[in-house]
Symmetry: C2
Subunit: 341 residues, 2 copies
């Protein structure tokens, strides 16, 4: 059924009348309907209560008319499932009070069914969302990439450069790979659970891979992205989004993933050339530009699609939507894609 959806057709590289559109963080703080729920329930209550996660996931489908829903959750549910405490306070970044820095820490992480079992609320949320969506649009599942999860586990908080996490990788590469392998195994099981529950595609967010040199990306990020993609792509289309790792596009075009996400720091033309038009590209509107007057948003969206071409393309931002964007502007972005001729 869902193969008829524009989003899935674009992921499969089929010809489409216009590109599908969704926005990273489309279920979030720019929507008054979301703020209302945020004021009543704390972050992990929203994430862990299937009815709330379902409601929040579907809000942008109803309100701004995107072509795909994405599960409302957080990449840090994986550290939680592995036994690491995660605090997520509003207006602050995440805090992991006990970081993972020694072999003992890595050995003590929970893996396998014990980790996955604690994430059952996600499967329940997905089943509920699929029922409520009633095939209006497909549902994207997601997880953080192993390198990005390692960043939080080792650094213990958000960071501009994740120097501590990178120094851990460089000075203890063997231990870093043990940790990355554990995260990868749990992530693969977790994403398979999402697919079994009904996710129509999965996206892997490597939010911090762009802090690595090309060589270090090849060592600490790429093999794990490929392992995840290889395991999942036989079941659903996989989108890899290693933010900022433009230098890996040529290599990523050889992966089993259907699609690669890119940010705005590369031209569509170069991204196409580096991926030799083998992949569906997703992106890459600068989220700051959603504050422009609506006619200018329309103009820039048109130019973006012209540059990518309408096929093998999913219109999106190059990063999450910002909290101060007027809902009308978010709608204008979606409408501009829908009106593309």
């Amino acid at each position: 059924m869902s193969k008829e959806h524009l989003f899935i057709k674009a992921l499969h590289g089929e010809k489409v009348e216009r590109p599908p559109v969704w926005m990273m963080r489309q279920a979030g703080r720019y929507l008054p309907e979301y703020i209302e729920l945020r004021n009543k329930y704390d972050f992990f209550t929203r994430v862990q209560t299937p009815e709330l996660a379902c409601k929040i996931t579907i809000q942008p489908v109803d309100i701004i008319g995107v072509d795909a829903a994405i599960l409302f959750s957080d990449i840090l549910v994986i550290p939680q499932a592995m036994g690491v405490e995660v605090q997520l306070l509003e207006h602050k970044g995440p805090i992991l009070p006990r970081t993972i820095t020694t072999e003992k820490d890595v050995n003590n992480l929970i893996v396998g069914d014990d980790a996955i079992g604690s994430l059952d609320y996600v499967s329940q949320a997905i089943k509920l969302i699929k029922k409520e969506l009633n095939n209006r649009v497909p549902l994207i599942g997601f997880a953080g990439a192993p390198f990005t999860i390692l960043c939080y586990l080792v650094e213990g908080k958000g960071s501009k450069n994740f120097d501590v996490a990178k120094q851990f990788c460089f000075s203890q590469p063997k231990l870093a790979h043990q940790l990355l392998n554990k995260i990868t195994d749990v992530t693969i099981s977790y994403l398979h659970e999402q697919v079994k529950s009904g996710a129509d595609a999965v996206q892997v967010f490597d939010s911090w891979s762009g802090l690595l040199s090309p060589n270090d990306f090849n060592e600490f990020s790429l093999p794990y992205l490929n392992k995840i993609s290889d395991s999942l792509s036989a079941h659903v289309p996989v989108i890899l989004f290693p933010k900022g790792s433009w230098y890996a596009l040529e290599e990523l075009s050889k992966s089993s993933a259907s699609s690669i996400g890119i940010d705005w720091c590369i031209t569509p033309e170069l991204a196409r050339s580096l991926t030799q038009n083998k992949k569906t590209l997703q992106g890459n509107f600068d989220p700051c530009k959603l504050l422009l007057p609506i006619p200018q948003i329309q103009k820039e969206v048109k130019e973006m699609i012209d540059a990518f071409g309408k096929d093998r393309y999913i219109a999106n931002l190059g990063h999450g939507i910002l909290p101060n964007i007027p809902v009308e502007n978010a709608k204008a972005f979606v409408e501009a894609v829908k009106n593309y001729r």
Copy 2:
């Protein structure tokens, strides 16, 4: 005289026996001798007292043996000179309590001789440093790039994405260009003063240009970098360091600058190819790698120089040295370059 220095020869593209080496933030928190002065004097006292600025500038020449000194100062002396209060507290980023967001704010900025006059302490520091250096190594002067200074003026503090500053540029481009022009004019006069006082080369730090798309870089950063370079390069070699703007390398290779700085997120091979070997490249060791065991630092430095080639190259980090680097490791980096064969 200073034309004989390796650093100047490399900037002029002359053949050298080995590349020169220095490190961004080489006068800084990893040096116990610096910490000693930091514990006695606050930041702007250190910057504004020529004797202290001189002492701090020369420390890394004596202690770790770099081939060039760089003036101890801060890019935010330009906002200060333009009449904007800047607070720099230890262990915190900078704070500019009154941001620049309206036409009136821009009109009220101090420019011309009134701005430059207040920076006389920099000229005095440079004269003192040149005397103390006694031609052992050349002295690099510097300033922040106009786009990066705009980021701080508009956002009022450090930021991961400088969304507020970017939204200002996108939604009020005319006002943004007025502001960028004012910053550029003051910066050009300031750098000429540095050269008159004895700076042998100047570097322009565009720390945040990598947050811009290629198109927006061409609009909000590049013209101002070029204006500064065109004005200065008849007098001293100019190094442009638009961190993260790898996509601009081809365009920058057409500039009047002698050298382009790059970070570690691009391979030496690609950087050479994009600049068609027309420029001296500077960089690009990942600062996190200075925590590696010394033999591995030596190995990676050798590989880096092999990849760039010894000519038209200045060995450096791709960003500032981190506070937790042992002095022995910083020395090992410098020594590894000096021992290159």
